[in-house]
Symmetry: C2
Amino acid sequence: MARAATTADAFNAVAEPRRREILDVLAGGERPVNDLVRLLGMAQPQVSKHLRVLREVGAVDVREQGRQRLYRLNGHALKPIHDWVKNYERTWSERFEALDVVLEDLKQKEEGNGSE
Amino acid sequence: MARAATTADAFNAVAEPRRREILDVLAGGERPVNDLVRLLGMAQPQVSKHLRVLREVGAVDVREQGRQRLYRLNGHALKPIHDWVKNYERTWSERFEALDVVLEDLKQKEEGNGSE
DNA sequence: TTGACATATTCCGATACAGGTATATGTTCT
DNA sequence: AGAACATATACCTGTATCGGAATATGTCAA
């Protein structure tokens, strides 16, 4: 078995920095392909290919308008990533560390009550 | 050029589901390799290999103890992922959508003041 | 219809992965 | 020293990628 396909899920699709850049631009609103080509300075075929991957994982939607294709962000596809990574926020956030202290404290008291 | 190395950054390292599983276990505390092998039901060499990748991107630290190597989570390496994805939270969170409405409203009023 | 424009697809070559299996390295115990 | 244990590394194979270049598909305009 080789590495999972880039289209396997959002995690794999978004591992490519260029695709994140594309999403970052689309976060500002719907865009035709050529806008992305100009704004990101990448070749048109590569943009189309990256967009295909993003479409396959549901991170973007397309709409046809004349000879243009307008791409729009669909952030829903990124929710699983957020859901997973947010559980690690405590490892660097002071706010969560403080919360951990409180919870640990409560736990101590509970144990005290239970045993005495 | 081929796909970026799995060790290129946390995004690539974490695109592999097995490696996320490993981190999820380590979130519960320090563990020797064999614990991971048993808990995740994967072959020992694969676990070692995944741990190497996670080490190279700084997502885990190792500590030697006798013949064991205790691996510990280092969530800091995941912060860039969180920082990136959290900006998309508005696309699925009702709370953020409500905030967007408020901000849009403020913007309208400002424009009104400016032009009259 | 011909041409200009917008986008997608195809073919290429190089690269690196992931799992499997075998083996190497290092440590503890007797 | 030798055996048992814990972990890491090496080698193999199939596969999917990425960028580049060329080309195909589709739409509008004169």
